[in-house]
Amino acid sequence: MVADPVVAAVDRIRTRRVHAGRIADRLFHGVTGGFALLVLSLLAAVLVSLAIGAAPAFRQAGFGFFISTAWDPVSNDFGALVPIFGTVVTAVIALVLAVPISFGIALFLTQLAPPWLSRPVSTAIELLAAVPSIIYGMWGLFVFAPFYAATVQPAAQSLLGDSPWVGALFQGPPLGIGMSTAGIILAIMIIPFITAIMRDVFMTVPPKLKESAYALGCTTWEVTTAVVLPYTRAGTAGGIMLGLGRALGETMAVTFVIGNAHDLSAALFMPGTTISSTIANEFTEAYGGTYSAALLALGLTLFLITVIVLALARLMLLRLERQSGGRRHV
């Protein structure tokens, strides 16, 4: 076979280009895959770095770190119970307030409001979610706290302060700042998040289901509780957990209004502290091994709590996603 020089040249060029394409392909695959693995390892890296930093604190206090109420930089005696307590209490207050309100807004947006109204309100809620947390903190400190101290706190104290069981919750000076204020500001912060998720998952309910219920004579409220909520159970719960994750880890908004006192008290009007606000306030001043190790140990605690909550939230949202045919939410 006599090789035509032109055909041979074309062949050579083609082989070279196919070869080059393969190399470039492998390179591109490798580089993108490498960055994907980098993202994968980020979470583990955070965990490891916090654990290494926290080790001295655990070595000194052992498991007792989690149940000790001490916080004494002078004698290097640290315990996590007070900040953990504050974190959990403020997050619970936030959820108790935010869930019904978010549910109401999502109900309004998906079942009640006409499109010309629901669209701008939706946008407004989403803009509220974009406002940085430090603004909520400032608003809480300069606007909400004085209002709260002047109106709500005295009223609550005169109304409930003497009741036998709940009375203990409403003790303390009406300063405007404290655990309950932090909980309320957190609620305001997470309402846009929970609302946006609830609205999105409520919209996944097939109209046929709702219309069948209406045809049977159900009221809007009955359709919501008997059709919409059962259908979106997993997604709604996922959205609430996501809100909880945010409330647990939020720093700036809380730091402004919680009062930063290492006291364990049932009274919600008293100043308290949370894990994140303790870290934010004290970390840069914490020179000396055990002090910063104790703060890093607090960070590690927060990491473990929030990652568990967020993982559960994502698993629930994933379940809804499968149910609604692969559509991703949030």
Partner: protein
């Protein structure tokens, strides 16, 4: 049974319940809007009152003196830009792998899951992480550490949107390009990226909006600096930390500056997120 269905009281009760809860839904929506209005009015009222040209020309003052926020604005812009430059390629490439190569694999599902957790992980922990891996080894706070911390917060946002947007590109387009003999990297660069361009850009804009107001991760990475500085190896002033310190201070003039900074930062963030929305909407309409 039959008298139950005919009981007029029961019907009335159902209607009353319905009316009560629907009114409650309207009331809480109104409450939400009132809070939003209160935040915006406070911000605009106090922020505008403190706006002045010297805000942009003078650095942060000691209490009682005249001054502006120029060092903080400069530092914030610089660190946000750097974080975007670092985080965007990482996020886009990782998102590309998820959407193009990893589809349906267990590794991709894991990466997506971890990324979703990172997306809502407390930002203060990212700050502690960067403190441990950058600030401690170098021995000092620095603008670089701040930028890296912000990049770590930006990455998950970009990964998520890049993947979502690439998955919206129809596979038929990819197959058509492959049938013409294009290698896969070429398909991704010339077909997938080009179709998903605006979507990916939106992700970056949303990421910038997310990091521009982040305070907690900068507290122990960039710290703060009283003076105008372009030195990324030293502590660097930035708007969020200055706002935090000035707002918590007892001095009136510092608090005024804090409100001015808060207004600036919120306006910047709203501009970024509204632009992202408009970009997405116009793209959806041209489709």
């Amino acid at each position: 049974m039959s008298d139950r269905t005919l009981d007029p009281n029961r019907y009335l009760w159902r209607r009353l319940t319905n009316g009560f809860f629907l009114c409650a839904a309207i009331a809480v929506t109104a409450l939400g809007l009132v809070i939003l209005a209160s935040i915006l009015i406070t911000l605009i009222g106090r922020g505008f009152a403190a706006l002045s040209p010297q805000l942009f020309s003078q650095p942060t003052p000691p209490p009682g003196n005249d001054g502006g926020l120029s060092n903080a604005i400069l530092g914030s812009v610089l660190m946000t830009m750097l974080a975007t430059l670092i985080g965007t390629p990482v996020g886009v490439l990782a998102g590309t792998w998820l959407a193009e190569y990893g589809r349906g694999t267990l590794v991709a599902a894991t990466v997506r899951f971890i990324n979703d957790i990172l997306l809502s992980a407390p930002s203060i922990l990212i700050g502690l992480f960067i403190y441990q891996v950058v600030v401690v080894p170098l021995g000092h706070f620095s603008g670089w550490a701040g930028a890296i911390a912000l990049a770590v917060i930006l990455i998950p946002v970009v990964v998520r949107t890049t993947e979502d947007m690439l998955l919206l590109v129809p596979d038929r387009l990819r197959e058509a390009a492959a049938a013409l003999g294009a290698p896969y990297w070429r398909v991704i660069v010339s077909i997938s990226y080009r179709s998903a361009r605006t979507g990916i850009l939106t992700g970056v804009l949303l990421g910038i909006a997310r990091i521009a107001g982040e305070t907690a991760p900068l507290l122990f990475t960039a710290l703060n600096n009283q003076f105008q500085s372009l030195d990324l190896n030293g502590p660097m002033a930035n708007l969020p930390v200055v706002i935090f310190q000035f707002a918590m201070s007892p001095y009136d003039d510092w608090q005024r500056l804090a409100w001015a900074g808060a207004l600036l930062i919120t306006v910047a963030i709203l501009v970024f997120s509204v632009t992202a929305r408009i970009v997405l909407r116009t793209r959806d309409q041209t489709r």
